[in-house]
């Protein structure tokens, strides 16, 4: 490489160097621009997104579960309350070996097979990161043992939890219901109704009874502690706190003592009873026997106990008052009589001669009266008092099934009463139209005949019977039954009375109603079908007996209760109100396989009246399985 003069060469070299410096400067500016562009993107364009992420990093909401409202009877006796207890809970994801932890735990404290079964069921239903209770209501000693051995039990934690206690026992189970652990189905429901957020700190939710139907009021509003947490999840400080709002307390119309009296009056029988205040619709007692222990469900029931309860032939989980459907039998007669008068089919003085049966024209089939040889000359008053079947056979035929349907439907037969519990059955009030729709078959005249005495298709719940009877007692006011009388705000401690839910007023001519009511009063007097149950009462009762057939009886055969084993005996029905002149209580009773209403169901109603109206508690009232038939 031949060299030019050093000086010139140096100049050229310097020029080139300066050129390269400019390239270097441009390169640096380019890099700086890239950095600032990236910063602009992050800090200006994406700022909202990143500030949100930073806030999410920093702030965690710790839900504070509210205390659940109490459920009190009308005299403020506690039916459902809360208590705090220590529970041993396991989180599967945090145990290295679940079985090993379980084995360690059972070396330290006693885990019953039932608890273990329940745990495994809950475990199967939950996610890996959920905590599942193994044993609740730990004793202080157990808590101490577990605390001392914590390091040996990875994934196990002792936590203080709020529980629900139903000290009123099995008799109140169908009213109060129970809460249970929130399951996937509950969560789905909460999500769909937009209430999921409010249950973030909650473990339990009402599953049945009032716990279910008043869930929203009882639960209250979940509070949140807004905590600032560092990267390791440790709470650094509390930012703000939205305190939980406790659930509202419920005061019922129901009287726990009255309920106990009614339950006791059933003796060994199963069945249902509901007592209403005819003026408010308030449910004074609601018994469905047998009951069950609602406390079993609070922290998850073990599968075997659940199976036993669910598959028991006695069906303890079924609320017979709301869901038991039976033919109303003779208890329909006062309503039929009223329909006859109001629709102008009968006058009070109209009589028939009852030969002991009824036959349709051009038919030899005999619809028999329960009384052999018949009741002779019968008007409506007598027909109710003596429960004359023939009178009502004929009345039904004269009225026709459709008019019968339309009138009876005004008493809430065939529709929900609107009680503040879920799962009520509508029963069934038949009509020509219904049969066509349901069975695609024509209505037969014979079906009208037996409908007149509450047999055939007609099905009713004890609650519907009581609601209808209340209309006889209060002069036609259709009131929805209510368990809850008042609601207490936990903050102000003020009881807010719940409104009486009047659905409508049925216009009944007073003279028509008087005839029916007189008939019902005579049911309870000598010569009436439940006279025995009213003997010695300090007040007057108006009532009506009935039987609901369990097995059909062949034409010409005779029903003989003493020959039937108990499970095939008829269900005994009884509706009544008292005092007859100025009713304050209405009762409907259904005794399963109780035979005749007058002998098994009416005495139960009497015990309820006695306690409610005079405060008299029954002695050691023991019902014999009376087999007396009419």
């Amino acid at each position: 490489m031949p060299l030019a003069t050093p000086l010139k060469n140096l100049d050229r070299e310097l020029d080139r160097f300066h050129g390269r410096l400019k390239v270097g400067a441009a390169f640096v500016v380019l890099l700086a621009a890239a950095l600032l562009a990236r910063a602009f993107y992050l800090q200006v364009m994406q700022h909202e997104y990143y500030i949100q992420r930073a806030e999410n990093n920093r702030i965690s909401l710790v839900p504070a579960a509210p205390n659940r409202g109490l459920i009190l009877d009308r005299k403020d006796r506690i039916l459902a309350e809360n208590y705090s207890a220590y529970t041993l809970e396991l989180t599967r994801a945090q145990t290295h070996d679940l079985e090993a932890t379980l084995a360690e735990v059972s070396k330290l404290i006693e885990i019953t097979p039932g608890e273990l079964r329940r745990f495994r069921r809950l475990l199967a239903e939950s996610h890996e990161f959920e905590t599942v209770p193994l044993k609740s209501k730990l004793t202080d000693e157990e808590v101490a043992i577990l605390a001392a051995n914590r390091y040996r039990l990875p994934g196990a934690e002792v936590k203080a939890r709020l529980f629900r206690n139903y000290q009123a026992g099995p008799g109140m189970a169908h009213v109060v219901g129970f809460v249970g652990r929130i399951n996937d189905r509950d969560l789905k429901g909460l999500r769909e109704s937009g209430r999921e957020q409010n249950y973030r700190g909650s473990v339990h939710i009402g599953k049945t009874g009032l716990e279910q139907s008043y869930e929203t009021l009882l639960h209250g509003r979940t509070g949140f502690d807004q905590m600032e947490t560092d990267a390791s999840g440790r709470a650094v400080r509390a930012l703000s706190r939205i305190p939980p709002v406790p659930g509202k307390d419920l005061r019922l119309y129901l009287d726990q003592e009255l309920q106990a009296v009614a339950e006791h009056a059933f003796g060994d029988y199963m069945g249902g009873l509901v007592a209403l205040d005819p003026n408010t619709g308030g449910v004074l007692a609601l018994v469905s026997k047998p009951g069950f222990d609602p406390n079993l469900f609070v922290d998850g029931i073990d599968p075997e106990t659940w199976k036993a309860l669910n598959e028991s032939p006695e069906r303890p989980m079924v609320n017979r008052v709301l869901r038991g459907i039976y033919p109303p039998g003779s208890t329909i007669k006062p309503f039929m009589g009223l329909a006859g008068l109001e629709l102008g089919v009968r006058k009070p003085g109209d009589t028939i001669v009852d030969p002991g049966y009824f036959s349709l024209p051009n038919s030899s089939h005999q619809f028999r009266d329960w009384k052999r040889g018949g009741h002779g000359l019968v008007d409506l008053h007598r027909a109710i008092a003596q429960s004359c079947d023939t009178y009502f056979y004929k009345l039904a035929v004269d009225m026709g099934i459709d008019r019968m349907h339309d009138y009876l439907s005004k008493f809430s037969f065939g529709e929900k009463t609107g009680i503040d519990l879920e799962g009520e059955s509508t029963g069934l009030l038949p009509s020509r139209d219904w049969k066509q729709r349901r069975w695609k078959k024509a209505w037969y005249p014979g079906e009208t005949v037996i409908a007149g005495i509450g047999q055939g298709y007609h099905l009713t719940t004890p609650l519907q019977l009581a609601t209808a009877t209340a209309m006889l007692a209060n002069g036609g006011k259709r009131i929805e039954p209510r368990l809850v009388q008042a609601v207490r705000d936990p903050l102000t401690h003020v009881w807010q009375p719940q409104p009486v839910a009047v659905r409508g007023q049925l216009a009944i001519k007073p003279e028509d109603l008087a005839v029916v009511r007189q008939g019902m009063m005579d049911v309870m007097r000598p010569g009436g079908t439940a006279a025995g149950a009213a003997a010695g009462a300090a007040y007057t009762i108006a009532g009506k007996t009935g039987t609901a057939q369990v097995v059909g009886i062949k034409q010409g055969a005779r029903y003989d209760a003493s020959r039937l084993s108990r499970q095939y005996r008829d269900h005994a029905l009884f509706i009544a109100y008292a005092p007859a002149e100025n009713p304050t209580i209405v009762v409907a009773v259904m005794v399963e396989n109780g035979g005749h209403g007058g002998s098994t169901a009416a005495p139960i109603a009497r015990a309820v009246f006695d306690y409610y109206l005079t405060g008299k508690r029954p002695g050691n009232m023991k019902l014999e399985g009376s087999d007396a038939s009419d």
Binding site: L21, A39, A231
Partner: protein, 366 residues
């Protein structure tokens, strides 16, 4: 006493006022950010102050060393560095899966740090020595001088440091006049060999690159650092959350936040406005460095000043790019901002060299 103050005054004569001002401004910002990032830890702050004092002393000292003396230090320093690298390869201590450290008994030492200055000094010395007879073979020799330490560091393995040292060597060759066709040819060749390089990369290096491309693929593992630092920067917004108010910082979400990730703290607390000012300060230093290079009377001075300036910004770019999620995570501190004595001393040593080049104008014209 007058004698001492006389020496101090004489020493300060070689300090470049503009560069000093810019450096002090950056160090002031650094002190504030380290204080915030360490949760006002007295140990960290005083440690940082000591490092700053020490490094400033070294800077002033270097400013007084005339460039021709500096040039003479180049070859022995380079040789020593390469020998030590060989020592590391043979007897080095393995930490975190890489053989980078040499246990000197009283302290552990990374020889690769030494090369950061030794390589440019060596190359600048070499070009100055052959200034008048510069030919293609000199570039070849210079290239060999560059590749030896580069490969030694690469196989430690320490890709980040190797690339940074390679970059400084390349800048020097570039300013020395490496022909464009060689540069472009090399770039084409490099791009073509990327797949081969990928195959030679270690698992953790590949993972870093992959994590960079999609941090959310591993949000709790390798991606966590990048995710948290970008959240910090992004949440800072236009004007930041205020000094000591950054929640990502104060609540420990930012990793390594006094050292490699200090820019995340800065970005969170001072926002985009702060970032512009910070980058502006770095650009000002680079600009001053390039001016010094342009005015330098000797080839050695020109090459050193230009290379050190570009090198500084390369560190800035690699660090900020990593923290804001556009470059892979490599352990490179942010110049003059990150806590850490070695890096600070090395940097201010470089600033001292710049000042020496700037102030020894006529003195070494021999």
């Amino acid at each position: 006493m007058p004698r001492t103050s006389h020496w101090i005054l004489r020493g300060l004569r070689h300090v470049d006022g503009i560069l000093l001002t810019l450096v002090l401004l950056l160090l002031g910002v650094s002190l504030a950010v380290v204080a915030s990032a360490s949760g006002q830890s007295p140990a960290r702050i005083s440690g940082h102050l000591i490092n700053i004092g020490l490094a400033l002393g070294v800077m002033v000292l270097m400013a007084n060393v005339p460039p021709h003396l500096l040039a003479k230090v180049g070859p022995p320093l380079y040789v020593a560095g390469v020998v030590l690298l060989l020592g590391v390869a043979l007897f080095g201590e393995i930490r975190n899966g890489a053989r980078r450290w040499l246990d000197l008994g009283f302290m552990a030492f990374q020889p690769s740090e030494l090369l950061k200055l030794a390589l440019p000094l060596m190359l600048a010395w070499y070009f100055q020595r052959n200034e008048t007879v510069l030919r293609a073979k000199h570039f070849l020799v210079a290239g060999a001088l560059l590749v030896v330490p580069f490969l030694l560091i690469l196989r430690q393995p320490d890709l980040g440091t190797a690339l940074m040292i390679g970059a400084s060597g390349f800048y020097l060759l570039f300013f020395a006049g490496l022909p464009w066709k060689v540069i472009l040819g090399g770039a084409t060749l490099g791009a073509a060999s990327l797949p081969v390089v990928w195959g030679l990369m270690h698992d953790y290096q590949q993972r870093r690159v992959l994590t960079l491309l999609d941090p959310s693929s591993d949000p709790l593992g390798a991606g966590y650092h990048i995710i948290q630092s970008t959240i910090a920067i992004g949440s800072g917004g236009l004007f930041g959350k205020g000094w000591m108010q950054g929640t990502q910082n104060q609540l420990d979400f930012i990793p390594e936040r006094t050292t490699d990730f200090i820019f995340a703290v800065f970005g969170e607390e001072f926002g985009y406005a702060g970032a512009i000012l910070l980058v502006g300060l770095y650009l000002a230093i680079v600009a001053r460095g390039l001016v010094i290079a342009a005015r330098a009377p000797t080839l050695f001075g020109r090459l050193m000043a230009a290379t050190l300036s570009l090198n500084l910004f390369t560190y800035v770019f690699v660090n900020m790019g990593m923290v804001s999620g556009i470059l892979p995570v490599v352990g490179v501190p942010l110049p003059l901002m990150s806590y850490g004595g070695t890096a600070l001393v090395t940097l201010l040593l470089g600033m001292g060299i710049l000042m020496s080049v700037a102030t020894h104008r006529q003195l070494n014209k021999s």
